[in-house]
């Protein structure tokens, strides 16, 4: 019939295909999406992140049916879910455990990208969408954490909203605008609820779609960091690729099974995880006149929180010194050309001056925000001739090791009360974290790189 598309499928599927790209989408993203055949353990975490997203959305929908976003009743309604709603405790513990496990999975997923150079050309956008997802996830977790209206909810929100007050000139008004009141109050709770259940999830789902579309456009990277698209077999398919479905769908089911065992074990036996997943202070209702004796964010924010705390007045001297050294080095030895050779060092010197003129409180916020935002630039910071860590010089692996240990140490320090020694350690940790990224254009090209093989390394089982 005229006006209808000609398709190969018949019956109901044919009827659908003539009206909607069912089969072609299925093929493009699953049955004829060729992923490298040498994926390893680290490649479980992308699909696991998707699984946790689904868990969070489904459990969230059911929690909203019983939760009351009202400063007078929020705490009680969470206790009501825990004690009186049939199986409410399970849904709520799945949601709270899911929040922490989301970060576990996403941190490991990002680490995989770091190891195998998955952010390098042509996958820059995949990475950028990914970092945007990470930012959304942090916002989602932060907004969600206020909802139980416990002491840690309340004072955590108070501290984070006050971060914005550190911005020169507009800061104090901005933080009032965010709270909708002079302190964190019912107005704040209501808007955070709105962000948590609708605004951020919509953005998050859109970004996840963009992340996958971008990935499927350029194809997955692999542990060898070798492109598989150029090498085709006699049927025109990548010789080192296998269809995502059924091979990796089945493979990922194994990952899902392993993950769910751990997930269920936490939900049923350690939902509080020793105060790391659910902080003890949050079992006390919010009291706007009394800050708990020790407040700390949930574990997944603590590395960044440590950097915020580490930026004291003394430390801005160190950062200003580093900016001046960088300016001199770039001017004398840098590979910048033309106007940039002057402009970039001048900007660095201006930053050095501002570091000593604007309050350290503001720079703490900059250090914390910068520690996340710097990830956006990773594709252009890494100048190594090979993508994968497998073919990098041995000492690069040590650098990655130091980076990981440093991140964990910062995370630990962020959970602890501030002391002199801890603060000094956190300051060193902040320098290591920022140095790892900011000096990457220099160190990533140094050393003897191993020859990269022509085809991916794969031994059939």
């Amino acid at each position: 019939m005229a006006g209808e598309k000609t398709v190969e499928t018949t019956g109901l599927l044919g009827w659908l295909d003539r009206r909607f790209p069912v089969t072609s989408t299925w093929k493009a993203h699953l049955s004829e999406y060729y992923a490298p055949k040498n994926f390893n353990f680290w490649y479980f975490f992308g699909s696991l992140a998707l699984l946790v997203l689904v868990i969070q959305i489904v459990t969230g929908i059911f929690l909203v049916m019983h939760y009351k976003p009202d400063a007078e009743r929020a705490f009680q309604s969470v206790e009501y879910i825990m004690r009186e709603v049939p199986w409410g405790w399970l849904v709520r513990y799945m949601h709270s455990t899911g929040a922490s496990m989301f970060f576990v999975v996403v941190y490991l997923h990002m680490l995989r990208g770091l190891f195998y150079g998955s952010y390098r050309k042509p996958r820059e956008l995949v990475w950028i969408f990914g970092v945007a997802i990470f930012l959304c996830l942090m916002a989602e977790a932060f907004f969600g954490y206020l909802l139980p209206w416990g002491q840690m909810s309340y004072w955590g929100a108070q501290v984070i909203v006050n971060l914005f007050s550190a911005i020169p000139f507009i800061g104090p008004d901005l933080s009032i605008w965010i709270r909708g009141d002079y302190v964190v109050s019912d107005a704040t709770l209501n808007r955070f609820f709105s962000f948590h259940v609708i605004a951020i999830p919509l953005v998050l789902i859109g970004l996840v779609a963009a992340h996958l579309v971008a990935l499927h456009e350029v194809g997955s990277n692999n542990p060898d960091g070798i492109e598989i698209k150029g090498k085709k077999d006699r049927y025109g398919r990548p010789v080192d690729g296998i269809p995502f479905h059924p091979y990796y769908t089945v493979h990922d089911i194994m990952g899902v099974a392993g993950f769910l065992i751990i997930f269920a074990a936490i939900v049923f036996f350690a939902p509080e995880m020793g105060g790391y997943f659910l902080e003890y202070n949050n079992f006390i209702p919010a009291d706007q006149f009394k800050t708990p004796p020790h407040i700390a964010p949930v574990w997944y924010f603590t590395p960044f929180y440590s950097m915020l705390r580490a930026t004291t007045d003394d430390f801005t001297w160190v950062l200003a010194g580093a900016a001046i050294v960088a300016a001199v080095a770039l001017f004398l030895k840098g590979k910048l050309s033309g106007i940039w050779r002057i402009a970039v060092p001048v900007v660095l010197i201006v930053i050095a001056v501002l570091l000593r003129t604007i309050d350290a409180k503001f720079w703490g916020v900059v250090a914390m925000g910068g520690a996340v935002l710097i990830l956006f630039f990773l594709p252009w910071l890494d100048h190594s001739p090979v993508k994968s860590i497998r073919y990098r010089p041995g000492w690069h692996k040590w650098l990655y090791g130091i980076f990981i240990v440093n991140f964990l140490v910062l995370g630990y320090l962020g959970t602890q009360p501030p002391t002199e020694a801890f603060n000094l350690t956190a300051q060193i940790g902040t320098l290591i974290y920022l140095g790892f990224f900011l000096l990457m254009p220099v160190w990533s090209r140094l050393g003897t790189f191993k020859p990269v093989p022509d085809r991916v390394v794969f031994h059939a089982h």
Binding site: V159, I176, Y182, V183, F289, A360, N423
Partner: protein, 213 residues
Amino acid sequence: MSQDTIVLDDDGAVDPNQPPDPSRRFWVGTACAMGGVAGVATAVPFLSTFEPSARARAAGAPVEVDVGNIPPGQMRTVEWRGKPVWIIHRTSEQLEGLKANDPLVADPESDRPGFTPEYAKNEYRSRKPELFVCVGICTHLGCSPTPHFNPGPQPSLPDNWEGGFLCPCHGSTFDLAGRVFKNKPAPDNLEVPPYQYLSDTRIIVGVDEDNKA
């Protein structure tokens, strides 16, 4: 479409390679610009809903406090704009201790703008030396510091402690005039709210002679 046919009496067909009509481009551009202005203007009421509501503003009214019955060395907390306001009856030893702190605090004379009304710009940061009034919210990130009035060495505090406040969040310390000690995360002394004496034993917090609230 498998059975496409070319129709030749296509008088209205436009050659896709023909350059765009500049006058249409101009008006399309103008319409988009005006639509954009309308879009931005519509965003204003939505963004304004984030401001504190009339009710939240009304709740920021000044509060009267009877200060006659606060024993020396004790403090009372009242609520103003949802924030804790501390009223401390300082003893003469405590006032002596403030002098010892002068070289240790970051801004002994409260010179930095915005946190100290003119009438509190003195060593005691108060209208009358004994009675200290301040907002009990750390100027760093808004936690409420905890009182540690006993002088002398104790955990998390220096050995020459004269009594004051410790912020549990990021370790800022303040003396009994709300002055922040040097090299702490908090950039400013604790805020002294506008207040005035109604009589010897009554004060009102949130308003002063300038009627500033």
